[in-house]
């Protein structure tokens, strides 16, 4: 919402400065976005008088002038033809910035003659396009500020423009008068009365109006208008044009400018039809569907069934309350005009405007709610202005429907302001505030004015009182703790787990990323997503069309971007939600990490090696351990298709997959333009069970002082045998005695097969025996060893390597 200071003063009698007004506006909730102080750029300039002008010795077109300024007599070289003795001019001194030529002046020497400043033209000061000579003022004294002269003689050129952001609850502030009312209530002046004198009609309107199809109940409660015949529709007067141009509107013609003026001055959108182009009466009715209308914006709209439209006897003429039709619009030739003032239902206007994607000043206001009670007074005021500016004579008013009853009242409880806001405002002041805003008070009941559709309860009264009193005065008051003493921990176990997983991955050397929750459909499809249910109806780009089914694609895209910048070795992770569907709650928390390239930069110690699946596995185990997963898990090979089928695994508890790890499938890498190797791990944080009993107490430490014995075994097994099978078999040989079994070597490949036979490999384990009662004898050790060999043989078909 834009307006100028002088426009505001049409409605507000005030001595407040611009700064006081803008501060109050923002404080009142009418946030000032911008003040264009159109005088600011002209502030440095003062009036001066040319005392003497003579020909420049070395230039035909230049004159050397002696000029009387507020700092005494100066010499200025000037090229304007009208530079002559005796005229009052506008002086720009060295050091001043001249906006029209974008130059900060210095003391210059022009063809050998010093010049201390310049005398400006209108164009040089951005006042107009006039540049035939320097400004000659008809009045003023040497040393006067030019802005003061303009304010007194040409106020429209320096009238500050104020742009305020109006929140959707305040349609009344979409008119200058509503803004003035708020300021008056704050005490920044008084609201000037609005004198509404009905204009007597002198004939019957040849155009009738009818609201059809039940729209009176919902859509158009009231439609009124009248014909004014014999008007002359030329350019509007300068004051009106200046108002409109100051807020960025283009003057069109007097009739159209009047409607725009009412829209902004009083939040009363109007429409004017050229009577010569209307056939018969105007009907407000629901569209059948399929009708077409060329609107004032030059576009043709096809109406859907049920949309509210104004038609004459033949065809649609206006998108009711949104935009008029081009064909029945007023032009310079218009002599008879039908002036429309209607009250449209906000919801109906919003729905139609949204469906047709039209953003007009009328829609903007009607969908927020204009003052229904002002429909007819607005029509009278506009009639008056049309007659004043265009001449002509008015018909009687024609109308259908009635002003809808919006009367209501809420109890004003003066104590609520203290209990809800915490500000102590005397009851008398509260009542005075509401009355200044147009509320009617009867006892303790307050009835809001017809222009405030947002007031819908007692809390709204409190808000109005506090807002006008100024929330700036609100002082903080300590809020007592919900319970005394040391605060209890507040994070849920899952929230603690999320944090632990994140910090563990960072501690393992991964850089945390936050990537977008939506990715492109093709990438989503690669990771089991891309279903219709996860598609966005209105994505902002083709890269962001589907909710991510997994965190890995986002990380791979991040890796590709970093590789494009020359960073080939990456360790990235993200903790966040992945989406399995499009319903609320179809999301699950993942911690996903990605290793790309080599384990380290090249160094003299040979640390660099390609990352592999065991890196991912170790990190997955570290995260699982950190978040308290059980130590014993099953390692399965059933993993998602974006992993390398032979180099990936899943860590599960029964059917519950807690984590996946492995090499990323080469096809996926190729599709996502990542140079491998790349390995990844995903922890499904919710799939890891929480301990059933939460206790800080540790189990007692169970250790033995007896000497432990370590024995190594190397087995020859088929190369498809998994190490875990072998380890579990060994472990099972004597659960009490065997404390630990660990693989410490694997010998596989061509050389191994050459030694041990085709399809064979060797796995070496170390077994730690921990006696509990007495030291082990050699015979006992031998017995356990034999059992281990037997168990392993049974489980794997392997035998000891000799």
């Amino acid at each position: 919402m834009k307006f100028t200071l002088s426009w505001l003063k049409d409605h507000l009698d005030t001595g407040a400065t611009l700064d006081e007004i803008t501060y109050a506006l923002t404080d009142l909730g009418l946030e000032v976005e911008e003040v264009v102080d159109r005088a600011a750029r002209l502030k440095p300039f003062t009036l001066a008088k040319v005392l003497h002008a003579e020909q420049h010795p070395d230039a035909d077109k230049l004159r050397v002038c002696r000029v009387m300024t507020d700092e005494g007599e100066k010499q200025i070289v000037c090229g304007a033809p009208n530079a002559r003795a005796g005229i009052i001019v506008v002086l720009c001194k060295p050091g001043d910035y001249v906006p029209g030529i974008d130059v900060t002046l210095g003391v210059g020497k022009i063809r050998g003659v010093e010049s201390h400043g310049m005398m400006a033209s209108e164009r040089e000061l951005e006042l107009s396009d006039e540049h035939n000579g320097i400004i000659e003022l008809p009045s003023g004294e040497v040393g006067d500020k030019f802005t003061d002269w303009l304010a007194a003689n040409r106020p429209e050129t320096v009238d500050p423009m104020i742009h305020v952001k109006i929140t959707p609850n305040r349609p009344d502030a979409l008119g200058v008068r509503g803004i003035a009312r708020d300021l008056a209530a704050r005490g920044l002046g008084t609201l000037k009365p609005l004198d509404i004198q009905p204009v007597k009609g002198v004939f019957d309107s040849p155009v009738g109006v009818r609201i059809e199809g039940g729209l009176k109940d919902k859509g158009c409660p009231l439609f009124a208008g009248r014909v004014i015949r014999g008007v002359k529709n030329g350019p509007s007067p300068a004051w009106l044009q200046a108002r409109l141009t100051a807020i960025g509107l283009r003057p069109i013609s007097t009739l159209v400018d009047i409607t725009n003026f009412f829209t902004y001055a009083l939040n009363r959108p109007l429409h004017v039809f050229d009577v010569a182009k209307v056939k018969g009466d105007l009907r407000i009715h629901p569209a059948k569907g399929g009708e077409e209308l060329l609107a004032l914006d030059g576009k043709t709209y096809t109406l859907r069934e049920g949309m509210m439209v104004i038609s004459d006897d033949q065809e649609p003429e206006s998108l009711a309350g949104i935009m008029g039709g081009e064909l029945s619009g007023c032009t310079e030739e218009t002599t008879d005009v039908f002036l429309e003032s209607a009250y449209w239902d906000p919801i109906t206007i919003a729905a139609t405007g949204r469906a047709l994607k039209i953003n007009s000043d009328a829609r903007y206001r009607f969908e927020r709610g204009v003052d229904p009670a002002f429909t007819l007074p607005g029509l009278e005021l506009a009639t008056r202005l049309v007659i004043d500016l265009c001449g002509g004579e008015p018909s009687h008013v024609v109308m259908d429907g009635a002003v809808p009853d919006t009367s209501r009242a809420y109890r004003l409880d003066p104590a609520r302001v203290i209990s809800l806001v915490g500000m102590d405002i005397p009851e008398a002041e509260q009542r005075a505030t509401l009355e200044a805003l147009g509320f009617t008070l009867k006892g303790d009941m307050a009835a809001p004015p017809s222009w405030r559709p947002d007031i819908l309860g007692e809390a709204d009264l409190v808000e109005e009182v506090a807002r006008i009193a100024s929330l700036t005065k609100l002082e903080g008051k300590p809020m007592r703790r919900a319970r005394p003493g040391v605060p209890k921990p507040i994070l849920t176990p899952m929230q603690v787990r999320e944090k632990t997983a994140r910090r563990t991955l960072a501690a393992l050397g991964y850089n945390e990323c936050v990537t977008y929750s939506f990715i492109d459909g093709a990438s989503a499809a690669l990771f089991g997503g891309g279903a219709e249910a996860t598609r966005l109806e209105n994505p902002i780009s083709s890269e962001m069309t589907h909710m991510r089914p997994d965190l890995l694609p986002g990380l791979l895209q991040a890796a590709a971007r970093n590789q494009a910048r020359g960073f080939m070795d990456l360790a990235l992770f993200e903790v966040g939600q992945a989406f399995s569907g499009g319903e609320p709650g179809e999301q699950a928390l993942q911690a996903t990490a990605l290793l790309v390239g080599a384990s380290a930069a090249r160094d003299p110690h040979g640390s660099r090696r390609p990352v592999d699946v065991y890196d991912a596995k170790a990190d997955a185990e570290a995260v699982l351990a950190a978040i308290g997963a059980p130590l014993k898990v099953q390692i399965g090979r059933k993993v998602a298709g974006w992993f390398h089928p032979g180099r990936s695994g899943a860590m599960s508890l029964g059917p519950n997959v807690m984590a996946s790890f492995g090499e990323v499938h080469p096809k996926v890498l190729k599709a996502m333009d990542v140079k491998g190797p790349a390995v990844a791990l995903t922890i499904h944080l919710a799939a890891v069970p929480f301990p059933k009993v939460k206790t800080a107490t540790r189990p007692a430490l169970d250790i033995s002082d007896l000497q432990a014995v370590e024995r190594d075994f190397a087995f020859v097994v088929d190369k498809g045998v998994e190490a875990l099978t072998l380890v579990n078999a060994a472990q099972g040989a004597d659960k009490a005695l065997i404390e630990r079994v660990a693989v410490f070597d694997q010998f596989a490949g061509e050389k191994a097969e050459a030694q041990m036979g085709a399809g064979k490999k060797s796995l070496a384990i170390t077994v730690r025996l921990q006696p509990r009662d007495k030291t082990l004898t050699e015979a006992e050790i031998e017995a356990v060893s034999a059992k281990i060999v037997e168990k392993v043989a049974k489980a794997t078909g392997g035998h000891l390597r000799t």
């Binding site: 404080d27 909730g29 946030e31 609850n169 949204r354 903007y364 969908e367 809800l420 806001v421 915490g422 500000m423 309860g457 809390a459 506090a466 807002r467 929330l471 609100l474 903080g476 300590p478 809020m479 703790r481 919900a482 605060p487 921990p489 507040i490 929230q495 910090r503 991955l505 960072a506 393992l508 991964y510 850089n511 945390e512 936050v514 990537t515 977008y516 939506f518 249910a533 966005l536 109806e537 209105n538 994505p539 902002i540 780009s541 971007r561 970093n562 910048r565 960073f567 990456l570 360790a571 966040g576 989406f579 499009g582 319903e583 709650g585 179809e586 930069a601 160094d603 003299p604 640390s607």
Partner: protein
């Protein structure tokens, strides 16, 4: 006897290695060594003579033994010195590399905010990012055709044909978590709800996804003055300054009444933000007293309970505190950015230890 002593001591001092020393030890102190033989001769001496000679011999033996040991140690040290000299390494070579991980500023700041509000008794509530329009709008007093709804630049989920429910949305704010938390827990309640939110907006200063934290406190007597105090305490703790000054400005949010935008006093002198001083005001969050309709929508009786809610941008306060210039870079995962603006895994914000290092 002195000859003997002189002979061996000088020989020991000249011995070149441990083998030579051993030879000398055997020659002097061995079973058949010179001194051992002399010891044997003692038996044939007269008692007085034996006493004097014995003592002298013992002294000689100890002297040589000590010399042998000292020389052995000296030889050992020399050999070790020699070895260590040979084992010289260039310690200006780099150490074995270790990856340095980082925590994203959004996570770090979320934890900072959580730590502060936890101290004031606020729990952390969560909610889905794909929301029904009821939770995102209707329950928050934003009816379907209300212009406020259009101002949200909402992302809508696709609807299958024949499914005539209003489309779900990507939550445009964290406020729907207010409804969920109150529905679950009732009143009194104190929660914050940090998380991702989405708006269809992408330019210099906007990204289609960003992070907000919602705050909600409902009790029988919580007022807007309490809200101001809580926010003052938060800002003082978060920005780690002794003094902050907040200014409440009337505004409008459909879900609060009265509503206020909150500005903080600051200075931008020299391009550096300083909170709590200067003469500029910067908008940092929106807040207000929870609208009675919102309480009712969440099943909380508005005649019995009241309280405040606020919402602020996590990314934004992270930018302000840590001097991060560009919002878009938060989500680009540029390694250089992650390393520069990220935090160490062990930088855990706590009220006791401070929020930042």
């Amino acid at each position: 006897m002195d000859d003997l002593s002189g002979k061996y001591l000088s020989a020991i001092s000249l011995a070149a290695d441990e083998a030579a020393l051993e030879e000398l030890r055997v020659a002097a102190l061995g079973k058949k060594g010179e001194i051992s033989l002399k010891m044997r001769e003692l038996g044939q001496m007269a008692p007085e003579e034996r006493q004097a000679a014995g003592a002298a011999l013992n002294r000689l033996k100890d002297e040589i033994d000590a010399a042998l040991r000292a020389k052995k140690a000296a030889l050992g040290d020399a050999a070790l010195d020699e070895r260590l000299k040979a084992e010289w390494l260039d310690v200006t070579l780099p150490g074995r590399p270790r990856r340095q991980g980082t925590i994203h500023p959004v996570s770090q700041v979320t934890e900072e905010v959580t730590a502060i509000f936890a101290d004031m008794g606020f729990a952390v509530a969560e909610g889905p990012q794909i929301e029904s329009d009821w939770y995102n709008f209707d329950a928050l007093n934003i009816p379907p055709e209300h212009p406020a709804r259009q101002e949200h630049d909402t992302f809508f989920m696709a609807r299958a044909e024949g499914d005539n429910r209003p489309p779900h949305v990507l939550r445009t704010h964290t406020s729907p978590v207010q409804i969920r938390a109150m529905t679950d827990q009732g009143a009194p309640i104190r929660v914050i709800a940090p998380g991702r939110v989405y708006r269809m907006d992408m330019d210099q200063t906007h990204t289609p996804m960003f992070h907000q934290v919602e705050g909600l406190a409902i009790d029988r007597d919580i007022s807007m003055a309490n809200l101001k105090w809580v926010l003052e305490e938060f800002c003082r703790a978060y920005f780690e300054v002794d003094q902050v000054e907040l200014r409440f400005r009337a505004s409008h949010f459909p879900f609060t009444e009265p509503s206020a935008e909150v500005d903080i006093r600051c200075s931008w002198e020299g391009g550096q933000l300083k909170i709590g001083e200067g003469d500029k005001w910067m908008e940092i969050l929106g807040s207000g007293m929870v609208h009675p309709k919102v309480l009712a929508a969440a099943g909380v009786d508005p005649t019995e309970w009241q309280g405040f809610a606020f919402g602020m941008g996590i990314d934004r306060i992270a930018m302000l505190k840590y001097g991060i210039p560009d919002l878009r870079a938060f989500f680009e995962s540029d390694l250089r950015w992650l390393r520069h603006y990220g935090f160490s895994a062990l930088d855990m914000p706590t009220v006791a230890g401070g929020l930042s290092r």
